[in-house]
C-alpha cells in the first residue's frame, strides 16, 4: 500500500480503460544499477514476498500497491543489459517478460527503468523491450542527479520518439510516482519507434548478425538522443577523482584493505553494547519465568530450552544488521563493483574472476544468498566452483561462535604494543582469512585438476558514484535481519528445544545412580593412587569432597543424567574422534547437534553446560553462557575444558566445516545434483577436522 499514490484523486476514474477487476501484473525491467530497487521500494514499500522463481533460485521480489482503486502487482525483474541473455538471471528476466516462466503470470504492463545519467546504453534494452508487444511505460530515474550534472532531458520529445510515455521520477523523494502510476494504468502497446526499423536495416550487411543489431540500435539511439539530451558526457570531475583514488594501484588497494578492516572492527565493537543489553534482557526474562513456574521438566523446557535457544538467536541481530548495513552501503554507492575490479586479477590467479567476488563477499553474511548470487556468473565452471567455495567464507552464523569464544578465551591485549590493535580483533580477522586462504588453495588446485577450462569473460559496469538510498539500505538490512530471525532463527529455536529433549530424556533414575556410583569409584581410585601427590590426585580428592556436599552431589547427578541421555550417548560414542581436537564429549555433542545449522552450536552449548555444571557465580561483563563455559571442567576433574588452544580448535573447525543443512540443500538445487552437496560436506568436514587437530596439537605445545 502506498498512501500517497492510493489517496491521489479519489474522484478519478474507477479503473483503467481495459477494465477494473483483478490486479494488473506490472514488471520492472532495466539494466543493473538503474535505481530499479529504489523505484520498487518507493512504489510498493516492503515486498509482499521475497523468494525464488519456481524451479530456479533467482531472487523474485513481489510487491503490491493500489492506484485509483486498482491493485497493481509489481514484479522486480533481475537486471539485464539486453534481451539476449548471457546469464541465468538475465534469462529469468527475459522468460518472465515473454510469458515463458512456468508459474509466473505474463506481465500486463512493463515499466522500462532507464538511468538518466546513462541514457545511451540504457536505451539499448529499451529499444528491444518496446517491441515485445506489452503495454509499456518508460520510467526515467536519477533525473535529479542528471539535472545536477547539467544534463537536461526532454522527456516529452523522447516519449514521442520512443512511441510510449516517458515519466521522470525521483524515487527517494517520491517525485513523479503518481504520474508513473497513472501512465501504468493507461499504458498501451507502443507503436514502432521512429526510424528503428530503418536503422536496423541500414547496418553494414558485411557484419555478423549480433554486430548488425548492435550497430543498428546504437545508430538509432544516437539519432534519438539528438535534441533530447543537452549534454552527452555525464562523468563529473568528482567522479573522476573518486575513481582515480579508489582504483589506484596503491591507494585503492590500501583503501580496500582499510574498508574491510573497518567493517569487521565495527561489527566487533559497535554491536557490543546492544548485545550486552539484549543479553541482560534475556537473563531477566529467564529469571522472571523461573520464579513463576514450578521446578520440573516444564520449567527446564521453557528456561533452558526455549528462552536460552531464542536468546542465542536474538543476541546476534545487531551484528547481522550491521554487516548488512555495510554491504548495502558499499553496494549502494558503487564501491562493490570497484572491489570486483580490484580483486579480479587475484581471483584470476586462482582460476576465478572478479565476478566471483560479490557472491563470495555475500557469503560472509550467509552462504545461501552468496550461492544464489553466483547466477550472475555466465561461465558454468566458474559458477560451480564459486558455489563450492562459498561455504568456506566465514558466514554470519559463524560470527557468534567466533565472538563468543574470542571474547571469552582470547586475552584482550594489544598486539605489538599498538594500543588500538587488539589481539581479539586479530584472531577474528585471522579466522576470516583462514576461510579465504583455504578457498584460494582449493580453487587453485581444482582449476588445475577437475575444473580445467578457459577463464570466463569479464565485462562489468562501473556505475557512477552516488549516495546510497536510505530506504533501499534499510530495506536490505530489514530483509536480512528478518530472514535470519524467521529462517535461521526458527530452525535454531526448534533445534534448541529438540536438543533440550535429547539431553533431558530418557531420564532413568537407576542409570543415573549407577553412573554417579561409577564416578565416585573412579575418583576414589585416583585419590588413593600412589601418584596422588600430583595435581590430578589433589583434584580428585577435592572432587570427592565435593561429592559429599548436597550441591556437589546434585551437580554430579546432573552430569550423570546428561551422560545417560540420548545426546550424551551420541557424544560419548564419537569422543575418540574429537579427543585429538582437544574436545570433551559435550563438545562432540554440540558438533553433532550443530549439523542443521552452525549457529545452533551456541544453543547446544548453553543447554549442555547449563544442565551439566553447577552455577559458577556472577562475573562482571560475561554473559551467562560465557560464565558456564569458563567454569566447565572435564568429567571428574577440575581441569578446565575451555583453554585457549581448545577455543581456537573449535573456531577453526567451525570456520571450515559444512555444518549447515540449508547451504547443502541450496548447493544441491543450484547444481541440480545430489552429488555436489555430499562432496561438499565430506570434503569440508575432513578439512575442518585436520585443521582443528593441527590447531589444538600445535596450540597446546606453543601457547
Amino acid at each position: 500500500m502506498n498512501p500517497t499514490v492510493t489517496g491521489a484523486n479519489p474522484a478519478g476514474e474507477a479503473g483503467p480503460p481495459d477494465g477494473p477487476g483483478d490486479a494488473l501484473a506490472v514488471a520492472l525491467l532495466g539494466n543493473p544499477n538503474t535505481g530499479k530497487s529504489s523505484l520498487f521500494t518507493a512504489l510498493a514499500g516492503i515486498p509482499t514476498r521475497v523468494g525464488n522463481y519456481p524451479g530456479v533460485t533467482v531472487e523474485q521480489k513481489l510487491g503490491r500497491f493500489t492506484h485509483r482503486g486498482r491493485p497493481l502487482d509489481l514484479i522486480d525483474l533481475p537486471g539485464t543489459y539486453s534481451l539476449s541473455p548471457k546469464s541465468p538471471d538475465e534469462k529469468v528476466a527475459v522468460d518472465v517478460l515473454q510469458g515463458r516462466m512456468a508459474g509466473v503470470r505474463p506481465p500486463d504492463r512493463v515499466v522500462i527503468v532507464i538511468d538518466g545519467t546513462n541514457l545511451e546504453r540504457n536505451l539499448y534494452l529499451a529499444s528491444q523491450a518496446i517491441g515485445l508487444g506489452i503495454p509499456t511505460v518508460v520510467a526515467l530515474t536519477l533525473s535529479d542527479v542528471a539535472a545536477a550534472r547539467g544534463i537536461d532531458i526532454d522527456a516529452d520529445l523522447l516519449a514521442r520518439r520512443l512511441g510510449c510515455p516517458v515519466v521522470p521520477v525521483v524515487a527517494p523523494r517520491r517525485e513523479g510516482l503518481d504520474r508513473l502510476a497513472d501512465a501504468i494504468l493507461s499504458a498501451a502497446v507502443p507503436r514502432e519507434p521512429e526510424g528503428l526499423a530503418a536503422a536496423l536495416a541500414a547496418a553494414d550487411p558485411a557484419q555478423p548478425g549480433p554486430a548488425r543489431e548492435a550497430i543498428g540500435r546504437y545508430a538509432w539511439i544516437e539519432r534519438t538522443l539528438e535534441g533530447v539530451v543537452s549534454r552527452r558526457s555525464t562523468r563529473r570531475r568528482l567522479d573522476e577523482r573518486i575513481d582515480g583514488l579508489v582504483t589506484h594501484r596503491v591507494w585503492g588497494t590500501l583503501l580496500f584493505a582499510a574498508t574491510m578492516l573497518a567493517v569487521f572492527t565495527s561489527i566487533f565493537t559497535l554491536a557490543a553494547p546492544l548485545m550486552d543489553g539484549i543479553s541482560a534482557g534475556i537473563d531477566a526474562v529467564a529469571a522472571a519465568v523461573s520464579e513463576r513456574l514450578p521446578e520440573g521438566a516444564l520449567r527446564s523446557l521453557v528456561v533452558d530450552g526455549v528462552i536460552a535457544g531464542a536468546g542465542s538467536v536474538v543476541v546476534f541481530v545487531p551484528q547481522i544488521a550491521l554487516l548488512f548495513l555495510w554491504i548495502a552501503l558499499l553496494e549502494g554507492c558503487g564501491y562493490l563493483s570497484r572491489a570486483a575490479f580490484l580483486m579480479d586479477r587475484l581471483l584470476v590467479g586462482v582460476g576465478l574472476s572478479g565476478k566471483s567476488f560479490i557472491p563470495l563477499l555475500s557469503s560472509f553474511a550467509c552462504a545461501i544468498p552468496g550461492i544464489m548470487a553466483t547466477r550472475t556468473i555466465e561461465n558454468p565452471r566458474d559458477r560451480l566452483l564459486t558455489i563450492l567455495l562459498a561455504p568456506l567464507m566465514s558466514c554470519s552464523a559463524r560470527l557468534p561462535v567466533y565472538l563468543l569464544l574470542t571474547g571469552a578465551f582470547v586475552p584482550d591485549v594489544a598486539v605489538a604494543g599498538i594500543p588500538w590493535l587488539r589481539l581479539q580483533a586479530v584472531v577474528l580477522v585471522a579466522l576470516y582469512a583462514l576461510g579465504v586462504a583455504v578457498a584460494a588453495a582449493a580453487a587453485f588446485l581444482l582449476t588445475r585438476t577437475v575444473f580445467r577450462g578457459p577463464p570466463q569473460a569479464f565485462v562489468m559496469e562501473l556505475p557512477g558514484w552516488r549516495w546510497p538510498q536510505p530506504r533501499v539500505v534499510l530495506e536490505r538490512v530489514r530483509e536480512a535481519t528478518w530472514s535470519f530471525l524467521s529462517g535461521a532463527g526458527t530452525t535454531i529455536l526448534a533445534v534448541s528445544v529438540v536438543l533440550w529433549a535429547l539431553s533431558h530424556y530418557p531420564r532413568s533414575e537407576a542409570a543415573i545412580e549407577a553412573e554417579v556410583g561409577r564416578e565416585r569409584q573412579r575418583l576414589e581410585m585416583l585419590a588413593a593412587a600412589p601418584a596422588a601427590e600430583g595435581a590430578e590426585g589433589r583434584e580428585a580428592q577435592e572432587a570427592l569432597a565435593a561429592l559429599g556436599t548436597p550441591e556437589g552431589l546434585e551437580a554430579a547427578r546432573r552430569g550423570a543424567a546428561q551422560r545417560t541421555s540420548f545426546l550424551g550417548r551420541a557424544g560419548r560414542l564419537i569422543e575418540p574422534l574429537v579427543r585429538p581436537l582437544g574436545w570433551d564429549w559435550r563438545l562432540g555433542c554440540a558438533a553433532i547437534a550443530s549439523f542443521p545449522a552452525r549457529e545452533v552450536v551456541l544453543g547446544t552449548l548453553g543447554v549442555i553446560y547449563n544442565l551439566g555444571d553447577v552455577d559458577p557465580g556472577e562475573e562482571e561483563g560475561a554473559s551467562a553462557l560465557v560464565r558456564r563455559l569458563r567454569a566447565a571442567t572435564w568429567d571428574g576433574s577440575s581441569r578446565k575444558v575451555f583453554t585457549l588452544p581448545v577455543a581456537l580448535s573449535i573456531m577453526v573447525f567451525f570456520a571450515l566445516c559444512a555444518q549447515c543443512v540449508s547451504t547443502l540443500a541450496v548447493i544441491g538445487r543450484e547444481t541440480g545434483s545430489r552429488w555436489w552437496p555430499v562432496v561438499s560436506f565430506a570434503s569440508m568436514t575432513i578439512l575442518a577436522w585436520f585443521a582443528a587437530m593441527l590447531t589444538y596439537q600445535l596450540g597446546s605445545r606453543f601457547l
Binding site: K86, L119, G252, G354
Partner: protein
C-alpha cells in the same frame, strides 16, 4: 590493426570492429563497442588487469585478453596522464 589492448592509459581510440561471435563479443557490442565509438582507457587494476574504459558516457571494465577482440583505429591522445 591495433587492438584496444595496446592503447595506453589516458589515451582515446576509435572502435573499428569487434571480432568473434561468441557471447563475450556479443555482450561487448551490446555494451556499445560499435564501429566509430570513442573509447578512453581510464586506468588499470593494481596488477595491470582488468582495464577500466569509458565510452558512451559510462565506465566499464574488461580483461586485457578481451580488449584484444576490439580492433581500433590508431589512438588519439586527448589527455595524457
Amino acid at each position: 590493426m591495433t587492438s584496444l589492448r595496446e592503447i595506453a592509459v589516458g589515451a582515446t581510440a576509435e572502435v573499428a570492429r569487434v571480432s568473434g561471435s561468441d557471447p563475450t563479443s556479443e555482450r561487448l557490442l551490446e555494451m556499445g563497442f560499435t564501429p566509430g565509438v570513442q573509447v578512453r582507457v581510464v586506468g588499470a587494476a593494481p596488477l595491470g588487469c582488468p582495464v577500466e574504459l569509458e565510452l558512451r558516457g559510462y565506465r566499464l571494465s574488461i580483461r586485457r585478453a578481451d580488449a584484444e577482440r576490439i580492433a581500433v583505429l590508431p589512438a588519439v591522445v586527448r589527455r595524457p596522464r
